[in-house]
Structures are given as structure tokens and as C-alpha cells.
Symmetry: C2
Subunit: 459 residues, 2 copies
């Protein structure tokens, strides 16, 4: 074993940013050997190697280190150089190489570091930027089930000063696993000599550090609590999240959805502060995609060029007819996206939604179709605008509107389901995206109806 270890050039692998080989090379080594091997490295490189160890290895190696070296290692994790080295990883490697740190390391690390250092270190925790792990704070009160209420209150008085919330305290077993949460009110109202375990019901709601932060919004709304405990994958208590942070999350998630629904990438910065070049870039991407898709309308219109040449009057109603499909599609997609974000509509509800949208689309289409028919008839009587075949033209526009609004409602409502099904964000089915989609198909519906009804007269 000793021989193999000496052959590995850890320092060189780090400098070459060859993390895969490094991880492969250190796999299955005993903790003691690893700790020895890491000793001659600088604190920064030691932190890099440590971060690349598997979860179990990291826990063992950490336990093997002296308190002094533990602290040195944790402090190094908050240094920009270490973050810089590990950030050189591709996102794929990051997911496969950076496992969740062991609970004891996370806890000590969060407690040791200042909140600025924590921001740097949080990139290395193995938690996604949008995960609950990034929101948690280590400042909360832990008590033991065998303590008395008086002991618990004494503990709170001594260690509670920095706690984010005093509303909740958390009961943990000897392994730091979460076993219950207690409202401070129950502790305050209980006789001092009662054991903590008497107040426990072992029912609690907790969040997983690796979960998406959006899921925390729903849990908080249902739980009616000001703070929730966060555990790692093995149910070790590693932090808490307070509801005021979730308020920010809810707003940010709504902002991202709204911006996407408006047909732009999420800006991720306040409108007044983002550099114009950056904003143009975020807006241009979608605008170009939409423009390229909308080019299909030119192709579609090109195919109907003969019809238009014969009956120019048909082209007059093109914007009116296709925009109605876009508008009804925008409505439908917006309603569904928001209902999905709020958890009111699930993926399996697609058939129920489709039934609702068929009814709504037919109703709305009939209303607009009738108005369109009346508009053309009225203009005929008032201005004689549309020639001898005005009636057939009015029927064409009316029927096309029913079909297009129905189609718009269906396309707009089903697109978010489709996007979610294939793993994309439903909010991507923005109003402009749906409108573009429906524009092309709307043209085909319109000219097909026209071909059918006006054949032998205008066409």
C-alpha cells in the first residue's frame, strides 16, 4: 500500500485539474493513509483532496485528523483559491464528484465560518445553487430528550443568543439525528421538572438539504411554522431554514417564472442594475428563437400566395385571426403554468385540463367567431367593403376563429405539460412562444377553411 501511495502525485493531479483521476486514485484507501498522504500538502490543496473524497471516506478522514488540523482544513474550504480550483470542474463532474459532505463536517464548518466565508464555502458543500442547503443556517437550538425543561431553558439561555429563531427547538439523539421539533411555547408553558421527552410526539416535518428550494415554499405553507429543520440524506440535523428566507425564495421563483413567461430568460438581477449588454443577450436568445420559428409563417403564407393574389381581402384578416389564437393560447398557458407552480395542477391532470380547455376554447371561439361575423356583416352594410361574397367571407372568418381559438387554448394548455414531461421548466412556454406556435398553425387553419368555403367563388 505504502508503495502505491508514494507513486501518486496528488499535487500534480490538482494542478492539472484532473479530478477524475484523483478521485479514482484515492478510492478505497484507508482513512489513516489518506490523512498521512494529505499532510505534506498546503492547506488549500489538502482541502481540495478532502472535498473530492467520497462521503464515507471524508467522514472517516475527518475523524482521524487532530482538532487543529480539522479546523485548518475547514477554514481552508472557505478560501477563494479552493473554490476557484473546484469550480474549474464541469457541472457533470461536479454532480458526480462532489457528494454531500458528512453531517459532522457540515455542522462544524458552518459554525466555524463567518457568514461571508460561508458564502464562499457553500459552493463547495455539494448543494446546488437552488437547493435548500444553500438557505440553511447553523444557528439554532438543539436539546436532548432526557433533559428536564429547566435544563432545556438553561441551555437556551446560554446558547440561544445567536439562534435565528426562538420559536422552535429541535430534539436530537446521541448521533445528532433529528427526532422531534418542539415549539418554544410548549417549553415555556411546561412545569420546569418535566423531562423533554414528555412533550415529544415524534412527529415533525423536515426538509432535505439537497431538495430544490421551491419545494420548501409549499412545505412552509402547509406546515404553518416559522422554521423547519434541514437534514442530510441520513437524517442528521445540519441546519434550519426560516420562513423569512422562504419569502425571498417565493418572490424570486415567481420573478423567474414571470420573466420566462414574458418570453425572456430570467434576468437574475434587478432590471435597473443589470448591464444593458447582459440584458440584451438574455432577451435576444428567445427573441431570435421566436423569430426563426415565426419565419414558418412566411413559408406558410408563401404557400397560399396564389389564394392571396386571387382574394387580397383574405390577407386583411390574417393578423386578426391568428392573433386571437395567440391570445387564447397565452391565457391558457399562463393559467396552467401558475397552477403547476402552486401545485394545484399535477402532470397526471392533463386529461382533466384538456377537457376543461376543449369546453372553454369552444365557448371563447364561438364568442369571437360571432363578433367577427357581425363585424364583417356590419362593414358590408355600412361601407360595402368586401364585395359580393361578403357573406362567405364572414362565415370563413367566423368558423376559422372557432377552430383557431380552440386550437390555441389546447396548444397553450398542453404545452406546459409536455415541457414538464420532458424535464423542462413549464414556464418556458411563454405567451410569445405559444403565440408563435399558434400563428403558424392558425394560418393553415384559416386558409384551409377559406379554401373549403370560398372554393368556386372567391378562390
Amino acid at each position: 500500500m505504502e508503495n502505491i501511495i508514494e507513486k501518486i502525485d496528488l499535487e500534480g493531479l490538482i494542478e492539472a485539474r484532473d479530478f477524475n483521476t484523483l478521485r479514482e486514485a484515492t478510492r478505497n484507501w484507508p482513512a489513516g493513509n489518506l490523512a498521512d498522504l494529505m499532510e505534506p500538502l498546503s492547506a488549500e490543496k489538502e482541502a481540495v483532496v478532502f472535498r473530492l473524497l467520497s462521503r464515507e471516506q471524508a467522514a472517516d478522514v475527518f475523524a482521524y485528523l487532530s482538532l487543529e488540523r480539522q479546523e485548518e482544513l475547514l477554514k481552508a474550504m472557505a478560501r477563494e483559491e479552493v473554490a476557484g480550483i473546484l469550480n474549474a470542474m464541469s457541472p457533470d463532474d461536479r454532480t458526480s464528484l462532489l457528494e454531500e459532505l458528512p453531517a459532522n463536517v457540515i455542522q462544524q464548518m458552518l459554525n466555524l465560518l463567518s457568514s461571508e466565508e460561508r458564502t464562499v464555502a457553500s459552493q463547495l458543500l455539494g448543494y446546488d445553487e437552488d437547493s435548500i442547503g444553500r438557505l440553511m443556517t447553523p444557528d439554532f437550538v438543539r436539546i436532548r430528550p432526557h433533559w428536564t425543561i429547566a435544563q432545556a431553558l438553561d441551555h437556551i439561555r446560554r446558547y440561544g443568543k445567536d439562534s435565528e429563531t426562538m420559536s422552535m427547538v429541535y430534539v436530537i439523539d446521541e448521533n445528532n439525528k433529528l427526532i422531534d421539533d418542539l415549539r418554544i411555547r410548549h417549553i415555556l408553558l411546561a412545569p420546569p421538572e418535566t423531562p423533554v421527552s414528555d412533550l415529544m410526539d415524534s412527529r415533525y416535518i423536515s426538509l432535505k438539504a439537497t431538495d430544490h428550494r421551491e419545494s420548501a415554499v409549499e412545505v412552509f405553507k402547509d406546515a404553518d411554522l416559522v422554521a423547519l429543520p434541514v437534514t442530510d440524506m441520513d437524517n442528521f440535523l445540519i441546519g434550519i431554514v426560516t420562513v423569512d428566507d422562504i419569502l425571498d425564495v417565493a418572490e424570486q421563483e415567481a420573478t423567474e417564472d414571470i420573466q420566462k413567461m414574458g418570453g425572456s430568460e430570467a434576468l437574475d438581477e434587478p432590471y435597473m442594475k443589470i448591464a444593458i449588454s447582459k440584458m440584451v443577450q438574455k432577451r435576444a436568445t428567445w427573441l431570435i428563437i421566436l423569430f426563426l420559428s415565426e419565419m414558418l409563417t412566411a413559408t406558410a403564407m408563401g404557400r397560399f400566395e396564389d389564394e392571396i393574389a386571387k382574394a387580397v381581402v383574405l390577407s386583411i384578416f390574417v393578423p386578426l385571426v391568428i392573433s386571437s389564437g395567440g391570445n387564447s393560447g397565452s391565457q391558457a398557458s399562463t393559467l396552467i403554468i401558475r397552477a403547476m407552480a402552486l401545485g394545484e395542477v399535477k402532470l397526471r391532470d392533463w386529461w382533466l385540463v384538456m377537457k376543461r380547455e376543449i369546453l372553454s376554447g369552444l365557448s371563447l371561439g364561438s364568442i369571437l367567431g360571432t363578433i367577427g361575423f357581425i363585424r364583417i356583416s356590419t362593414w358590408h352594410y355600412l361601407f360595402n367593403s368586401y364585395g359580393e361574397h361578403w357573406f362567405l367571407l364572414a362565415v370563413t372568418v367566423g368558423i376559422a376563429l372557432v377552430g383557431i381559438v380552440l386550437w390555441g387554448s389546447l396548444a397553450g394548455s398542453m404545452l406546459p405539460f409536455f415541457l414538464r414531461r420532458i424535464g423542462l421548466d413549464p414556464a418556458t412556454s411563454s405567451a410569445p412562444f405559444v403565440a408563435t406556435l399558434v400563428d403558424v398553425s392558425g394560418l393553415i387553419i384559416y386558409f384551409s377553411v377559406a379554401g373549403f368555403i370560398l372554393h368556386g367563388t372567391l378562390l
Copy 2:
């Protein structure tokens, strides 16, 4: 005085729903006389008269009543009949006749009523449906500045059981005016014999019951507290609002904005639960308005009928060109609406926004214009699609796109400012609304550019 009072037929005025006369008739009467006058009425009618008194009168009359009659009166305020009678008022009358109730009445009323009764009664509190007054709970802990910490803790133990939160307690003076808020942690950590006043810094943030609930979201985000006190117009403490309720508010407000931005009225009910007829109605209103506005495109296209007849190829690019304006307008309006809702952009920032949008619009327009130009040139070389004047056509489409995208960005970004300026909700400037607006003007820009460039060739 006695004579005048006897001439007034309070009962008849209530039955005739003549609230203005009733209020006029009772104006300036002494509290004692009013209380006597109300005695023979049924409890329901007494409640109606009481609710129509001015704030000062109501406070005086209430103090004049025996405890028994006070309770009877407050209980009656929660009855559906009373709510029904007063709801017969027009919204205008409601604002002018139903002043905020005096703090002592509100407090007793909220404490006396069950939460179901409170829902009925809340309609009569004089607080708008969207106001903070509708969110507040009367269950919180009040302490006095001259108490010791031990007394305060004893009080919390005895009365804190039903409190919505234990994180904060509120210090009030002898008139029930709010003078400070204290974190429970400071009380728990202080020596028991300290007077409460030693912990006070007299700095606190409070909400006004009459304010719009949306404003509470911003205050909570800045304040970093789990609960905030609510006062009436005279700074009497009447309730608290907790952050978990605000989480719901933030979500509801975002939902309303999103639905409006999608070109529909806010549904106010979950998508899967709202009756289809009701949903169709909420969606039809805007769809019809948009359809009627979009009819202007038919008028505009009609005016260019001759040009289209001469150059059918122009009509082929109509959907492409005008939709680009709609898309850029949707983007811009969405970004501005959200920035306004988050307080990032204020009304006075319109000029800064306009400058940003001129730059963004020109950049985005140039990008799309270039792509459009390349598309037409390419199709010319590949398929010879557009005849001998393809180059001028490509220039026309390219230049029209720059103008239309610029105009779309400007119109989309300025419309929310305009709507807010005239007192409407900026979220009304939905993506479909902006698209419709820009469609009509986009046609005019397109055919004007075409007329200028193609004059003497195609036109």
C-alpha cells in the same frame, strides 16, 4: 333634543337601506342619547346603526354601554343579516360611511368572536378585502414597560397559550398605544428582576391596518422578523400579522399579476376548482377587448389593400414582422411590471427605463433585422422566391424590423408606467395587450417603410 330624536325612524331608515340619511340624522348627537335611542332596536339593527356612527361617536357610545350590551352588540356584528344589510351599500358609500372602528371595539370584537364569526365580521371592520386589517390576528402577547422580566414571563406563561407567535411580544402604554416590540430571546436571556423598560429601544416597525396587504410583503422582507404589529390610524395596537400569512399573500399577489399578464382577469380560485362558465367569463372579457382592438389591423390592412394587390409578396411577411414587435413588447412590459411589483422600479424612473429600452430595442431590432435580411437573401439564392426586387424587399423587412422592435420595446416598457400613473394595475399591460397594440402600429410602420423603399419598383 329629545323631540328630534323621537322624530327619527331609525328602524324605517335601516329597512329602506337609507344609510346616508341615517348617518346624517345621527351626526353630532351625544353618546348617551344615541345609546338610549338604540336600546329598543333588535341586536342586529343596533349593530347596523352602531357601524354607521363616526369613529369618535362609536368609541363614545361603546364606552357608554354596559358590558352586557357591549358583548351583545359585538356578537351581533358577526351575524350574516348584519353583514347582509351593510353589504347592500355601494362601494362608494362603503368607503365614506364605514370608518375604521375604534381600537377598543376592534380588539374586544376580535377576541370575543370565533375565527368563523371573525370572517363574517371582518367585512364590517371597514378594512378593504386586500388590506392588512383582514390578515391580522388578535392573539399576541402584550406587556407593560414597568413590569419586571419575571412578571412578563409569568404573564406569557399564563396568556401566551393562544398567541400566534412567541417570537415577539409587544410593549404598550396605559392607552394601549404601541411603544415597542421585543424579541422573546431578549426576555428569556435577561435577568428576571430587570424592568421591561430596560430592554426597550423604542424602535419598532409596524403596519397600518388600512394599508394594502402587498405593502406588507416588502416590509417583512426588509424587517427580517416573523411577526409585525398592526396599528389603527391612531397607533393603537390592534393585532399582529405573521410572516407565514404574508407568504400566502406574496404568492396570491404573484398569481394575480401572472394571470393578468397572461391576458386574463385574475381567476381568484384554483384553476381545477373554478366553474368553467366562470372561467370562460373571466377570460372572455379580455379576449373580446383584444379582439376588438385587433380589428384595427383589418382596418389598417384594408388601407394597404392596393399595395398588397400590387405586391402580394409583402403580405407574406406581415405575421413575421408584426409578431416581432409583439414579442419584444411582451418582454419589456413583463420585465417592468415585475420590477414595479418588487419595488425595484418607481414611477419616477420612467426616463431611465426609456433610455435603457431605446438602447435595448435598437440592439435587438438590429439583430432581428439582420437575420430577416439574411433569410430573404438566402431564399432568393436558393429558391429565387421573391422576384427581381428581392434586395429591396430584404432591405424593407430589415429596416421595418429595427423600427418595430424598437417601438415594441418602448411601448411595452412605457405602458406599465402609464397604467400606474392613471391609477390602474400595471399588470394589466399583459403580453397579449402589448402585442395587440404593437400589431396595429407595426403594420403601419411596415407598409410605410415599404412605400418609401419600394416606390417606383414593386409599388
